[in-house]
Symmetry: D2
Subunit: 337 residues, 4 copies
């Protein structure tokens, strides 16, 4: 028996589409509303034929009232748009899970620096809970507004937080070299995403100024109760899906492989979606899953951590569902394979 | 010593870009003008960084007068645009090599059916020479206006014409199943060409109505002096470059493998860019070359021919240069690797 | 409650791996034995890290007795190997679902022609049921030995059988131009499957002699009660997964689009995994699913049918599970998404 | 007029194949001998059909005497093999250009540590010249034995040497995060290089122990006359060709963007194959070229350098030809596009 109604706003983006795919397999929910910016209303399966026979709901431009018929509102909206609609649903007592960046950064000045406009809902920002279950589950349970983490921050924080908190590595000199597939950039009609431009190509972008950097610093700072200011360089790789990060850190003192593994295991023993490996993980093993795989290599003074996720699942829609599961006190892994 | 000046109009499309790359390596020509629809004038190497140190010419919106300073005008323009500018250059006595479809079809009614608008230069259409050197070299030598063949027609005609002309196969029941990489569709910012939509995808399109079908029928008809009405089904394959066609034909009577090879060899013994194989060719062997590779397999009554080309080279820019070489009485293969 | 034990022999091939992935999500079965040719026994998750936390069963060389502890034995073995082991399990009354070709062809002479050796289990061959649920469900329900269909035959038969049976198209002049991703060839360490050889490549292979041709002819012949002798040309496309076929057929007489759709719908109205489209389907829409998508285009005299499947799911492991579901009288779609 | 005869040993590896392709376009040389480990002698174009009509020379197992008929011997051999044959050709006064690692490391103990066996030609090792033209041209001019640089070292040294030598960055805390396509690993029949294993995958490997690390340290040490001990982490990316490195370094003191560019330009103003960019370079712009493209991004204290090359050209065969050109006092760029 399905007992919760959910709405997905922004159903035609990569995360919206994937979210709907996951929700359709979820035993406790029913999708009863979807919307997107469309020229004219159309059944979802006519927009995405792979949903034929699975979801024939009509996808139309947003109608707030209709959307509010659901119990949970997923906002798979662009940054700078979510905070225009979240207040409406929060006022009506709905659970809002926002996959955009709009409620992630506490400091609205930093928001403006990185997203270019003034924050439009400073009021609800305060109650937003950062939806990284491995570190904030107690708060998530009680949340009404989830700021679902960014893709890069998810894997970065999961890879670094335990070692930082336990004082294994120094806070300075942390470098994250991140490699991402194309869907991380969203579904846009642009020459930059043309197959012929991306195939057999590779490039770094926003090397000192990616908008996920302050998010990583803020959350790692909260977890470790200290100021974190790491270096983050994202790269675009010719793949459809997935993020793999290579983290360079310095050991505070010599430490054994086993000791580091113990730290990770202590933090993630009850985390159904973090897997700690004896070797360096390969991206392909997390594709189409909600897992974050972590491994590392060690020298006398230095540590290299490799973490990876599917950006659309653990890095977005899977984690959003994981957060919903926690809020409704269901098995955290329900519907997530 | 460079002795001919060339202009490339439409320099930022896939064929324009590739044409410039080829022309830069050509020992007899100098590129002295390039244009494209741009927001503001910029050096070509700032638009395409791979030309840095090779071509710093400014690329600006078309200025007919400046373009006319060249001896040869390559029109790498979209269909329905070339015929707006060709007359200007022809009037000035320039050699015009048009890579669009505008001067390929003799019948302007068919043109309208397939390209959707009235032909705007019926006058010059009559003098246009179809630039397939393997069959029309004498005419090309004397041409002022070359209708450079389409990519699918190039490989289709080269694969079929000898066998049709020699009466090896029947004219009825010819089916061409064509598979093309993405660049065949031109450089456009559209979701259809998004990496994530094309990767791991495959589809047929315009199955009974592709605009290259009447071109293939017309030219094969001319070569064989009979009416040809074949079936043509193009497919989009997750690759950047290249076309491979699989042709299904019926033998008029039983014939040996050797006999068919002899026919091909007779027609192509002096063609520097057609290679006839003992086995079925692989697409990769023609990528980055001006070759058309052809092979076939035989049963009692049926013949399967496989032909392949690089759509941007033999299927467009390489062939355009081959035509120029012929017009200027240079070695047909000059600058073509 | 899990109530059936299953064993997977050949667990490390592409189909074995995918089968285990599907079975792990199946609510009614428990995998209690897996084997493969290995140098030494190892946990499955150490061989395929993506199974970490999901299946830690030991994978060792085949031990018939241990395997026989299961109720259903899936043979994901190479051709020419399955028939060495199937008799043992059949003798013990087990249900055997063979994913190899060993029990598909009735005529052992044809088997020898195409697979190169004498058939080793002519005895059980007679009781084998061809596991294409859309046409043979009644027999499958009672089967002890399932010959799970080949990937090309699955999509070919589903695309053609209704139209042949209803006399819409002629039996002669049917051509199947098939395009497959790499996994269709099995997991082998060979230069032919090297990334650099396949990327940006495309080729036809076994044009008149592919081993799936007699399988297609035999089954279509049975369904239509007539002799079928079609033409089949497979191609290798630079993709990991999936098959798309383009079928060329001749109409017996002029027929409407709707009429053809009605035929398909009549045959597949109760088939949960065949979807008939108004337009030509794209391969990507069936990837990671058990669907076979079918569409077609029509001219006066000719029909082009496009069908596609995920070769590892509907073309192998998903269909094997579908067959198991039918045998045990469960929902045909159980565990198949 | 061709005036130099060259032999290519190891003609069927990726670098051998590419070397032959380059040499065929070189106006001053004639390939008069090729060899490889083959089952039986065969024309090169039958092994690699794309050479049909270009090189029909027979490729057979190595015959030292025949090879010695050439003036220049290119060894595209595996590591641990080159030093078995180089002495023979050096004794005969031939120019030997070795593309393996056998003559790159001065310290034979380090060689043994990283390549696993004792060095077999310590004698000639002393006269070997490291073939990185941008830094060692005077020595290359007089060399008889060229140790052609590794792919990762080429781009790493070119990216770092000027800044290290000018004291812009500190010697400590240099990290190279390298990303490479598949051909870097050589042409081997192994599951690791199977298309289905590499596609949509990404992984780090040999994080603290790659054999190119001592080569980079040694050469940077020589150029800067100091001990270099940097950190190097290679990654395998789903691409056929190319290497892009992201270098993390610390500035000795605050420095302007212009100042760093001036340093690069000073070092590379006469280097025809190093291009310094105002922005971060993209890999695709160097593919199929002998260029090394370099760009960088700057913060107060930190520098990120991005460098890229085509591993088979500037990282191997193109550079080998560049070295030959220098030795014979030809234009350094002759035959290199």
């Amino acid at each position: 028996m399905k007992n919760i109604k959910v709405a997905v706003l922004g159903a035609t983006g990569f995360t919206g589409e994937k979210l709907i795919e996951i929700l359709l397999n979820h035993p406790k929910v029913e999708i009863n509303y979807i919307s997107a910016v469309v020229e004219k209303a159309a059944s979802f399966s006519s927009i995405f034929p792979h949903f034929k026979g699975k979801l024939d709901l009509i996808c139309d431009n947003l109608d707030l009232k209709k959307a509010a018929s659901a119990d949970v509102i997923f906002l798979s909206l662009p940054h700078r748009v979510s905070f225009l609609y979240a207040p409406y649903f929060l006022d009506k007592g709905k659970v809002v899970i926002d996959l955009s960046a709009d409620y992630r950064l506490h400091d609205t000045k930093v928001y403006k620096d990185y997203y270019g406009i003034e924050h439009k809902d400073k009021n609800n920002l305060k109650q937003a809970v950062y939806g990284l279950p491995e570190f904030f589950k107690p708060k998530i349970k009680k949340a009404k507004l989830i700021a679902n983490p960014g893709c890069y921050p998810t894997v970065s924080i999961l890879s670094l937080a335990p070692l930082l908190k336990e004082g294994i590595i120094t806070k300075d000199d942390i470098i994250i070299d991140a490699k991402s597939g194309i869907t991380g950039a969203g579904r846009k009609a642009a020459l930059d995403y043309h197959y012929a431009h991306l195939n057999q190509n590779l490039k770094a972008y926003k090397v000192f100024g990616h908008q996920h950097l302050p998010e990583i610093n803020q959350v790692l700072g909260e977890i470790t109760k200290s100021k974190i200011d790491l270096q983050f360089s994202p790269h675009l790789v010719p793949m459809e899906r997935g993020i793999l990060i290579t983290v360079y850190a310095k050991l505070k003192k010599k430490v054994s492989f086993k000791a580091i593994q113990s730290v990770y295991k202590k933090y993630y023993q009850n985390a159904p979606f973090v897997r700690v490996f004896d070797c360096l993980p390969s991206l392909k093993d997390v594709i189409q899953t909600n897992y974050c795989d972590i491994g590392f290599a060690l020298s006398e003074k230095r540590l290299v951590i490799v973490g990876c996720i599917d950006n659309l699942i653990k890095g977005a829609s899977g984690q959003a569902v994981q957060n919903m599961n926690i809020i409704f006190d269901w098995d955290e892994a329900l519907g997530l394979g």
